[in-house]
Structures are given as structure tokens and as C-alpha cells.
């Protein structure tokens, strides 16, 4: 079919497609985006056969973990490669059992694949109606709100928003009314509802189920991280929040180091959870609570996510220690039998590591088995340190006998 697809591609050359979750409007130096093309990454995900075992958000094979859902938290590129690394031997074992050859990747393919995985992990899942229904009562939503006329009348009928398909939109709508809502809840002695994990999506699903009449969908357009960065300053976030000591305020948590949830919607949920505290804090400083359009909120969150993709949080010194501890040095030292990694060009980026893992890893595993070296496993943060160390080039120039 590819020939036909190609012919069609020329036919439809006009219809340039640049759809990604992070609409890269400024793909120039200084612009914020996730390196690589997520859709091309998905192509690689399909073409290389990953999809035969792995799914993303339920699309694909069922024999291996859903890469969008597991592990649960936010993973930057370094953590992605660590997860890959740690599971590689088990995966190869299963592939061998099924007589599948591990695919090989070029660096650009790996870049795209990472962009894809990072993007897809930021997506929210469709909610679970049953769970949402339980949440509705647990969170006392129906005390104030009605759904299609059923429930309390103090707040607006939630049916109004059933066409909103994105949890971020919901949070944004709530956010903008947080003030009045807080007041009303205080009046009724209700605690501020907290949303964790997929709660928001589940709530949305059950609300939609209960208010079936509204047709049409309101979606968010792909977020613009560059715009998000601007908003971060314009809306005054920077006054309280810092991003890894980049000159922001210290009153709020540093958004560059704090653990992120997996998806954008979950992040929005966290914002919501902290709204009263934030308001309180803002209130003391006499600043207005920032108001967002829903596209603005998604831009802002996207900015924070993209910021965390290639976080260089590692420490070269710690990395050197890891290099020794994990046994890497026994082979990859300049005099070792393996490829010397010192001064590895681009070694500071996770992409070449992942590429090398796929292209040479199996061979390496066998060599390690011969020499009874255990396959190293990395805990969170360790890979970042290692990468920082490797890119630092402390060990001098690459040795002459480096193997390809």
C-alpha cells in the first residue's frame, strides 16, 4: 500500500500536516517544543512493530504494558530511557520467545519515538462512568450543582459544560470561578474538592452520561508552549513560582523540580487542588487571581511539561560514581573491552543512549552474561546523573581502540 500512499501524498501535498499535541509554532532556537515529530514517532512505533505488543492508551497490542499508562507518573526523556533500559532484558527475552527480532533505530527515529511517547503520555484517558458516578457523590458536587435538572440549584447546571471534552477545559472553567465557588462552599461547610489521577476525566464521563441531550464537542486545540511561557510571565505566575532557579519567585513551589503527574489534565487537577492555598497566598500579596481562557491554560501547562522534557537535573559527580557502581566502568572505561563512552558526543542526551540500547543492547547483554556482569538497573534520577557525567567528558578524548 505504500506506493499508493506515496502517490496520494503527492496528490495531497497541499494538505501539510503538523498535528502534534504541542503545536510547534516557533520551531526556532529558543522556542519551546519537544524535539522530534510525535506523529513520525508514532509511525516508527507502528512500523518497528512496537505496537504488536505495546499499546498506547489502549490502541495496540495487549501482551506488553501500555506505554501511555505505565508507569504512572510523569517521565522526562531521561526517565523514559531509564524505564526502557531497566526492562530491556525481560523484553528481549519475551521477544526471543516469540521469535521477534528487536528493531533497530536511527537517532532521528528515536527522537521522534520519544516525542511520541512523551506526547501520548501527556494525554488524558476517557473517563470511567461508574467511577465518576461514585466521585460525584464523594465530592458532593450534586449538593450545589444540578445535572440535567437533577441535584442542587446553587451552582450552575453542569449540563452546560458537557460538550467540553478536555479535563483542562473543565478545570479552567472551574478555576475562573474558584473564588465564588470557594465562598459558596465555605458557606455550606464543604471542603475544597481534591482531584487526583483520572478523577476529572471520570467525572466528565459520568456527567455526560447523565446529561445526554447536549450534542457537539468542544475540544482544545494543540497547546502552544511558547505562548505558555509568555503567559507564565504575563499572568504573574513567575512572581511566586520559579522554574529551577530561573529567577522566579520563591513563594510557590519550584515548578521545574516538583514531581509532575502523568497527564496535562491531571496537572490541571493539581492546580485546582492548590487553588485555595494559592488564592490565600495571592491574596496576601494583593494580586488578582489570574484568569485563563481554556486555550491559555493548556498553553501554560504545556509549557511546564515541555520544560521538563529534557531536564538537565543530573550531577556529573554523582554520575561518575554511578558509572563505577553500576559496573559500566568495567567495560566502558577507556581501557575496557567495550566502547569507551568518555567524551561521547551527544552523550548528554537520552536519545543516543536509547538508540544505542536498541541497536547494540542485545549484543552487550550477551557479552555481559559471558563475563557474569549483571544488567544494571537505574533508579529515578540516576540516568540523568550518568548522562550529565558522560557529556562532561571528564575522561579525556575517546581512546583509539574504541569499537564501533
Amino acid at each position: 500500500m505504500t506506493a499508493i500512499a506515496k502517490r496520494i501524498a503527492t496528490l495531497a501535498a497541499g494538505a501539510a500536516v503538523a498535528a502534534s499535541l504541542w503545536a510547534a509554532q516557533g520551531r526556532v532556537a529558543g522556542g519551546y517544543f519537544v524535539a522530534g515529530d510525535a506523529k513520525a514517532g508514532m509511525q516508527a512505533f507502528f512500523d518497528k512493530g512496537c505496537v504488536r505488543c505495546h499499546a498506547v492508551l489502549g490502541e495496540g497490542g495487549r501482551t506488553a504494558p501500555d506505554l501511555a499508562r505505565a508507569p504512572g507518573g510523569h517521565l522526562g526523556a531521561a526517565e523514559l530511557v531509564a524505564a526502557m533500559w531497566n526492562h530491556a532484558p525481560a523484553m528481549w527475552e519475551r521477544m526471543r520467545a516469540q521469535q521477534l527480532a528487536p528493531p533497530k533505530f536511527t537517532e532521528s527515529e528515536m527522537t521522534n519515538l520519544f516525542a511520541f511517547l512523551y506526547s501520548v503520555r501527556a494525554l488524558d484517558e476517557p473517563g470511567d462512568v461508574e467511577r465518576g458516578r461514585k466521585l460525584l457523590s464523594e465530592k458532593h458536587c450534586l449538593t450545589c450543582h444540578a445535572i440535567a435538572g437533577q441535584g442542587g440549584g446553587a451552582g450552575p447546571d453542569l449540563r452546560k459544560w458537557t460538550s467540553y471534552r478536555n479535563p483542562v477545559s473543565w478545570i479552567q472553567a472551574m478555576w475562573n470561578h474558584a473564588q465564588s465557588m470557594q465562598a459558596m462552599m465555605a458557606e455550606r461547610g464543604l471542603s475544597w474538592p481534591q482531584f487526583h489521577g483520572n478523577d476529572m476525566a471520570d467525572l466528565m464521563a459520568s456527567i455526560r452520561a447523565l446529561a445526554p441531550a447536549v450534542k457537539g464537542h468542544v475540544y482544545l486545540r494543540p497547546a502552544n508552549p511558547e505562548g505558555g511561557r509568555r503567559l507564565f510571565r504575563e499572568k504573574g505566575c513567575v512572581a511566586c513560582h520559579d522554574i529551577r532557579g530561573a529567577g522566579g519567585g520563591r513563594r510557590g513551589p519550584d515548578l521545574g523540580t516538583r514531581a509532575l503527574p502523568r497527564s496535562l489534565g491531571q496537572f490541571a487537577g493539581l492546580m485546582w487542588n492548590h487553588a485555595p492555598a494559592m488564592r490565600a497566598s495571592i491574596g496576601t500579596r494583593d494580586l488578582p487571581l489570574p484568569q485563563f481562557s481554556n486555550q491559555e491554560m493548556s498553553d501554560l501547562i504545556a509549557y511546564l511539561f515541555v520544560e521538563r522534557y529534557f531536564e538537565r537535573t543530573g550531577d556529573a559527580g554523582r554520575g561518575r560514581r554511578r558509572f563505577e557502581e553500576k559496573g559500566c566502568a568495567s567495560c566502558h572505561a577507556p581501557t575496557g573491552p567495550g566502547t569507551a563512552l568518555s567524551g561521547w558526543r551527544g552523550g548528554g542526551s537520552p536519545i543516543p543512549v536509547a538508540t544505542a540500547l536498541w541497536n547494540h543492547g542485545l549484543l552487550m547483554l550477551e557479552k555481559m552474561k559471558e563475563r557474569s556482569v549483571p544488567w544494571p538497573r537505574f533508579r529515578p534520577g540516576e540516568v540523568a546523573d550518568l548522562l550529565e557525567f558522560l557529556s562532561g567528558g571528564q575522561h579525556g578524548p575517546a581512546s583509539a581502540e574504541a569499537k564501533p
Partner: protein, 805 residues
């Protein structure tokens, strides 16, 4: 007279002759002349610049995407559009044969006016101006006499933009009478309405299904949208998928669909409902049904008491009491072990789907039986879940494109009080016309339809149309219906016009296919919509104001503007884009490739259309709108209606208020009249499905592959039955019912049930084109009777006798 030839003369003559012949034959000139004569016979194909254009298939309602190869001014090949979500590059034989329709020698070449009588027409070519004036002044007169509701428009499809334009025109003009040809899904649609309370089109996520029971549905022979069904079939058996969906075909005849199924279950004709309820019996007794779904989302499963405290029978009691395994086995002729096994497989392989009752692409099944089959879906919990039965979301522009309101019109001419659930009941039109009830029909406009040929009561249609004062037909061929018209207006084929299609039948996604003309229209053909717009202008306000568009193209642009305003969906693209967009849309992001309506329009023209890749599944409640708010095994809608219509119970042969009237049940089986021992079941064959295709040689050639039949109808008869009647394979026989008789070739077929004979539908044209007028139309033998619930014509009870001619 005696001519003496002496020896010398004779020899001279002989020698001269021989030499002369030899000389002329062997001389170089002779040889070259002979060769030149042969070369002149050879067909030279002119070349030219090559181009590929997107197109939309017009040969069935599915509207698959096409890519059309043109060489200079000629279209030379039709292929599938790989971007089109319905067919993804594949195409069925019908679509591929489209070029034979485009270049058909018998196409109408100009508007025609009948200058003879209606019964024996004489045709004169007229200009388009004259045609429009004729049409317009006729409608103007009708309006002047206050009879606007006497106008009836019969359409082919009702789910595309053009049909919306026509409805808008009719509403503005003042007629409620927009009718369409039956789709064959009417029985299922009725069951879905009775049990789920929704009128939106039913759809099936076939690709996602894990187990499929088809109760006589011609899944691979033209049902629904054929290519997407075939694609799903291919996916079921894709070994890379790791799992194979089992597909069980339940029908009396070993059809192509049955042959390709994983299992074929032969049953006594007309007992599909009993078998479905027998399977339900096993599911209930063995606890294999989705108890959570049944508990939380259904109504009428257990016995219940109404508000007045009257006890009512529940589905469980009905099934356990009246459809016991052995009884069902005896009635259907299916071994009890088979039923047991089917039920266990159905209960254990989720998502499991049941489709039925017995459908062809033109003939509906029985609504009660459809309810019985649909109840299995409820037992399996397959209502509106991925891989189950879905309710297709309406197109998003529904609300933004409402027709301008005019004064309220009287009820539709086919909406008779006997039947509660009006869909389109075209077969009732003849009676309405002939009886002039509820009001006289003054004019009928036909849009690419041929009810005289394709409906079971075609002859009544013929008689009725002759009574209508004015009939006009938009058509590509002078078919059986068009010959009854006063004015015949040549319509172009899908390659010569703005071709568009709505969501295909049974396809779960909202789809809008659209493509510009590939070639200029041949033979002075004009798109009916353009003619309607011109007639509207002729009529002046308010009609003209209601459809303020210069051309169909302008209207389509208007529709696309609405599509853009809906802020959802995406332009057709690769499967990869589809997955990506689906991932995004499901989590609330919309990443279109266009930023305004203009770009959307351009991209739709290039790619062939727009669609919503997210399936409407997952929200069960949205698919139910019944009084109980749940799936109803016991149809309260039917119950409420019957209270006002006591005749209903009587027509079903039951006491008013009997609970059986509102629960699924096995309809009574017709009995064979004396002297007519064989049951005739007309069957669908893919090349001629939907009663269309007989005019194309490509399709005629492949009509009956299992028997090497081509170009002619045949009668499938079991070899033993044939032997008893003294009929040999290939004999010409008469098939005679009480309604008429037809001559066909008998073919012994081991896949026919003893005592049952089959004839393919789609044959037996008497007008239209040189290639179509072959074989016999089994519908002329069928004695249709109408079911009591929806009044759908039932074609399964016709008995015939067969004898050698």
C-alpha cells in the same frame, strides 16, 4: 438448357482458377491487404496526460472514496481512495464497474418529454429550459391550488447533503413528502426504536466485535456498507491481530456469506427469532449473560408490576417458559447441542454481537424477530460499547442547518394510522395514491430510484404512478419507473458531478464524503440538485429564499462552513493520522489540519471528505431514550401505543394487552397453500445487490460464482427436490406462485434446503438498458404481507410450484 463443357475447357477453367486463386492469394499485395484488414480490426488506445482525481462512489449509499485515473478527457480506471475511512483503498466490484455506467451506451442523452400516452409513451427530446419550465409551472399551479402537499419526492439516500437540500426545498414549498427507498435495515431500526427509544441510525463496530451471530443477514453480499464490512472481515482473520473473531451465519441457504463464515447453521426458514430466543434460554439458564448490564440498564427482564399494580411477564419468564431448548431445536431444526454451543460461545466471547433478523440490502426482516435478536445484544451487554451495537451520532451540522420554517404541512402521505412507527414506508404509497387517502397525490418526483422494479409491490406502484397527474424522473437510464413519467431528466453519474455521501449505513462514524466532478457531464446530464435550485428560482419566493444557492457547489460550500463551525473531526487521512487524531480527540484535543472553512473545503476536495474518527461508543445511556431510560426487553412504547390502537393486537392475532405483544417473539410461520409445495426465498448476490447493477456487464459476468452462473437468473434447488420433480441440473423450469410465474434455469445446488428454492434479486429488468433486461424478477412472484408492528413487507412466505417447461 444444356451447357456442354468439354474436357479442354474444363481443364483450362480448373487450371486458371487454381492459378488465379493462388496468384492473388499469395501475391504480396494480397497478403498485405489481408493483414491490413486484420490490423484495421485492432483497437488503438489514445494516450494523453495522466491524472488522478478523488471521487466518491455513487453505486450504493456507502459512498466509498475513489481515485479516478484520467487520460486526457477519458476516465480509465477507478480505484479505492486509501484515505477514505470507509474503504481505505479497497473497493467492491460494483464501485470498480462504475466506468461502465459512465460510458454506458444506453445512457439518457437529453431531457425527454412523453408525447404519447402514459401507458404507451413516445419520447421527444426537449431542452433543459423547457424541462425546467415544465416542472416549475407544474409546481406553481399546484401551489396556486393549495395542493403543495400533493408533491412527493422519492429519493435514493437520505443521509447526504443533497437530500438535505431537497428536504429544505420541499419544506419551503410546503410538502412533507420526502420519501426514500427502503434500506433493508428497517426491521432492525424498528427494534432499536422499540427497545432503545432512539431513531438515530443503528451501527455496528464490526471490526471490534469478538463474536458475531448473523441471523440471515447478507453480511458479505451487499448489506450495510459492503466494503467496510469486508474490511472488518479481513481484520477478524488477520493473524497479526492474535485473535480471530468468530462469525456464525444462521440461515437456511448456504450463501456466499455462509460459506465464508466460521460456521454455518442451517435452520428452518423463518425461525430465526425462535433460535435467538433459544440461545437466550441457554444464556439465562447457564448464567452466561451480562448480569450487571441487565440489572442496571435494562427494563422488563424480570416479571414486574406496573403503576396500577398489574403483573407483567418479564423477558426471563417468557424465554424460560416458551423457548425451551428442545422446543426451539424442534421448531428450527437446529440440533440442541448446536444451540447450546452457540450460546456458550456467544456468552463467553465478548464483545459479542447479534445482527438480524434476516435482512438483505433491500428486504427487511420481521420487527419481532429483530427484537429477539437485539435482545441477545442486551444479554451480552453489547449495547453501545466498543465492538457492539452503536447508535451513530448524527452529523454535527444537524442543528445549524435547520430548514426555514414555513406553515405547517399535513402528515406524510405514507403515514397511515395502522402502524405506529413511521420510517419511510414507500411501499404504502401506491395504496395512498390509488385511494387518494389521506389526500390526493398530484405530482411525484423520482430521484435515481426505480421502485417499480425494486419493491415487492412494484406492479401496484406502476398502476399508481399511472394515476398521478404528473411524474418526473431524474435518472441515468430509462428504467421501469421512468418510462411511466411525463418528463425524464438525465442525471449524471457520480464522476460527472459534485458527488457526496453521508455516513454509510451501519458504519459507526460520522462521515461526509465529497468530491468535485472528475469529468464534465456527458450527454447534457445535469445534477438533480442544480435543477431543483433552478426550479426554486423559477417558483420565486419564499421557496427561492429558502434555498438561496446558485448551484449545488455553493450549497455544499455552505454545508462545509457549518462543518467547520462544529470544531470537530478531521479531513480524511492515513490510518496513522486516524489513530493519532483519535488519541487526541478522546482526551479532548482537536488538532485539525485546517484553520478555516476555506482550507477545510480545499482539503476535503483533495482528500475526499471529512469525518469524526472517535467512535460514539462507551456511553451507554446516550444510546437509550425509552420511557424507563433503559434498554427495554418489554417495549413500553409499543404498549402505550397499542392502548390507543386496539386493532393492533387483533392484527397480531392476540388479545389486547397481552404481554406477548410487547416482548420479542417468534412470528407465526405461513403455511404452504395446496399445490404450492416449495418455499421461494429471493436472495441477494453482491454484484446485483440493492437491485442495482444488472446494467453493467462487469457485474453480470460475476453474478453467480458458486454455480458458474452469469448473465441470467437461476433457481437454486436441492438436488433431491429437483430429482423428485424430475428436474435435471440446467433445465429450464417455470416457477409459479399464486401471483405469477417466471421461467428460469434450474440449478441443483447442495446448499439449498430441501423444499426451499431461491432466486437471485436484481434480475428481470424490462427497461433501462440492453444488458439489464435478462432473467426474471423474483419480486414479481412474491406475495408480500405486512408485519403488524411496522407494516414492513415480509417476503419470506411465498410458496411456489416448479415444473419443467
Amino acid at each position: 438448357m444444356s451447357v456442354r463443357i468439354n474436357r479442354r475447357d474444363y481443364l483450362r477453367l480448373a487450371a486458371g482458377g487454381v492459378l488465379g486463386t493462388a496468384a492473388s492469394g499469395l501475391s504480396l499485395r494480397g497478403v498485405s491487404q489481408f493483414n491490413a484488414a486484420l490490423a484495421a480490426e485492432e483497437v488503438q488506445v489514445p494516450g494523453g496526460p495522466e491524472n488522478w482525481s478523488p471521487g466518491t462512489c455513487w453505486l450504493c449509499p456507502a459512498g466509498c472514496g475513489l481515485r479516478v485515473r484520467t487520460i486526457g478527457p477519458r476516465a480509465v480506471k477507478i480505484q479505492g481512495n486509501p484515505f477514505h475511512p470507509v474503504n481505505r483503498g479497497g473497493l467492491c466490484p460494483k464501485g470498480l464497474a462504475g466506468l461502465q455506467e459512465l460510458y454506458h451506451p444506453d445512457r439518457l442523452r437529453a431531457p425527454l418529454r412523453n408525447v404519447g400516452s402514459r401507458k404507451s409513451p413516445k419520447w421527444r427530446e426537449i431542452s433543459w429550459e423547457e424541462a425546467v419550465t415544465t416542472l416549475g409551472s407544474r409546481l406553481r399551479r399546484l401551489r396556486a391550488s393549495g395542493q403543495t402537499h400533493g408533491l412527493v419526492w422519492i429519493d435514493r439516500h437520505e443521509r447526504n447533503f443533497t437530500s438535505r437540500l431537497v428536504r429544505r426545498f420541499l419544506t419551503a414549498y410546503g410538502s412533507p413528502n420526502y420519501l426514500t427507498m427502503p434500506s433493508g435495515l428497517d426491521a432492525i431500526q424498528t427494534a432499536v426504536y422499540l427497545q432503545q427509544g432512539v431513531r438515530d441510525p443503528v451501527a455496528y463496530d464490526l471490526e471490534g466485535a469478538g463474536y458475531l451471530l448473523s441471523f440471515g443477514v447478507d453480511l458479505l453480499e451487499g448489506w450495510g456498507s459492503p466494503v467496510s464490512t469486508m474490511r472488518a472481515f479481513g481484520r477478524w482473520r488477520d493473524s497479526a491481530g492474535g485473535r480471530r473473531t468468530k462469525f456464525v451465519q444462521i440461515e437456511p441457504r448456504f450463501s456466499i456469506t455462509a460459506a465464508r463464515a466460521d460456521e454455518w447453521v442451517a435452520l428452518r426458514p423463518g425461525t430465526e427469532a425462535a433460535l435467538a430466543l433459544g440461545i437466550a434460554y441457554v444464556l439465562l439458564t447457564e448464567g452466561l449473560y451480562d448480569a450487571d448490564f441487565v440489572r442496571d440498564h435494562t427494563f422488563g427482564f424480570d416479571d414486574w408490576r406496573d403503576a396500577a399494580g398489574r403483573p407483567h411477564m418479564g423477558f426471563r419468564s417468557l424465554v424460560l417458559g416458551e423457548y425451551r431448548l428442545n422446543d426451539v431445536s424442534e421448531l428450527t431444526g437446529v440440533p440442541a447441542e448446536t444451540i447450546l454451543r452457540l450460546a456458550r460461545e456467544f456468552g463467553q466471547n465478548r464483545p459479542a454481537v447479534a445482527i438480524g433478523d434476516r435482512q438483505t440490502s433491500t428486504l427487511p426482516g420481521h420487527p419481532y424477530a429483530a427484537m429477539a435478536v437485539h435482545s441477545l445484544n442486551a444479554l451480552a451487554g453489547s449495547i453501545n460499547v466498543p465492538g457492539g451495537v452503536l447508535i451513530a451520532a448524527g452529523p454535527p451540522l444537524e442543528d445549524t442547518d435547520a430548514a426555514p420554517s414555513v406553515r405547517t404541512a399535513p402528515p406524510r402521505v405514507d403515514a397511515t394510522p395502522e402502524h405506529p412507527f413511521p420510517g419511510h414506508h414507500l411501499h404504502r404509497l401506491p395504496q395512498a395514491i390509488l385511494s387518494r387517502q389521506p389526500y390526493p397525490v398530484e405530482a411525484v418526483l423520482l430521484h435515481n430510484v426505480n421502485p417499480v422494479f425494486a419493491l415487492p409491490n412494484g406492479d401496484a406502484f406502476r398502476r399508481a404512478l399511472l394515476e398521478v397527474p404528473f411524474v418526473a424522473s431524474f435518472t441515468t437510464f430509462l428504467d421501469e419507473t421512468s418510462v411511466l413519467a411525463d418528463v425524464v431528466l438525465p442525471a449524471p453519474t457520480g464522476l460527472e458531478q459534485w458527488q457526496e455521501a453521508g455516513s454509510p449505513p451501519t458504519f459507526p462514524h460520522t462521515v461526509r464524503s465529497l468530491s468535485p466532478p472528475v469529468l464534465p457531464a456527458r450527454h447534457r446530464a445535469r445534477h438533480p440538485a442544480d435543477v431543483v435550485l433552478e426550479v426554486a428560482r423559477f417558483l420565486g419566493p419564499p421557496v427561492a429564499g429558502a434555498v438561496p444557492f446558485d448551484s449545488l457547489e455553493a450549497y455544499l460550500r455552505h454545508c462545509v462552513n457549518n462543518l467547520f463551525a462544529a470544531h470537530t473531526g478531521s479531513v480524511f487521512s492515513t490510518g496513522l493520522d486516524e489513530t493519532w487524531n483519535r488519541l487526541l480527540e478522546r482526551s479532548g484535543w482537536w488538532a485539525p489540519t485546517y484553520s478555516d472553512a476555506e482550507e477545510l473545503w480545499e482539503q476535503m476536495k483533495e482528500r475526499g471528505g471529512w469525518w469524526v474518527p472517535v467512535s460514539p461508543s462507551g456511553e451507554r445511556e446516550r444510546a437509550v431514550d425509552t420511557p424507563s431510560g433503559r434498554f427495554e426487553f418489554y417495549s413500553q412504547a409499543l404498549e402505550r401505543w397499542s392502548r390507543e390502537h386496539p386493532d393492533f393486537a387483533r392484527s397480531a392475532g392476540l388479545e389486547p394487552g397481552d404481554d406477548h405483544l410487547f416482548l420479542p417473539r417468534q412470528p407465526p410461520l405461513p403455511e404452504a397453500p395446496r399445490g404450492y409445495p416449495l418455499l421461494l426465498l429471493p436472495v441477494e448476490v453482491l454484484p446485483l445487490s440493492g437491485a442495482e447493477g444488472a446494467h453493467l456487464p462487469y457485474l453480470q459476468q460475476i453474478a453467480g460464482p458458486h454455480l458458474f452462473e452469469a448473465w441470467d437468473s437461476w433457481l437454486e434447488i436441492h438436488p433431491e427436490t429437483a430429482h423428485k420433480l424430475g428436474i435435471a441440473d440446467g433445465d429450464r423450469v417455470w416457477v409459479e406462485s399464486r401471483r405469477g410465474r417466471a421461467q428460469v434455469r434450474a440449478r441443483c445446488y447442495r446448499g439449498a434446503r430441501a423444499g426451499v428454492v431461491h432466486m437471485p434479486l436484481g434480475y428481470g429488468h424490462t427497461s433501462g438498458s440492453r444488458w439489464a433486461c435478462r432473467g426474471a424478477n423474483p419480486l414479481l412472484l412474491i406475495e408480500p404481507h405486512y408485519d403488524p408492528v411496522a407494516g414492513l413487507p415480509q417476503t419470506s412466505g411465498t410458496y411456489v410450484k416448479v415444473y419443467r417447461s
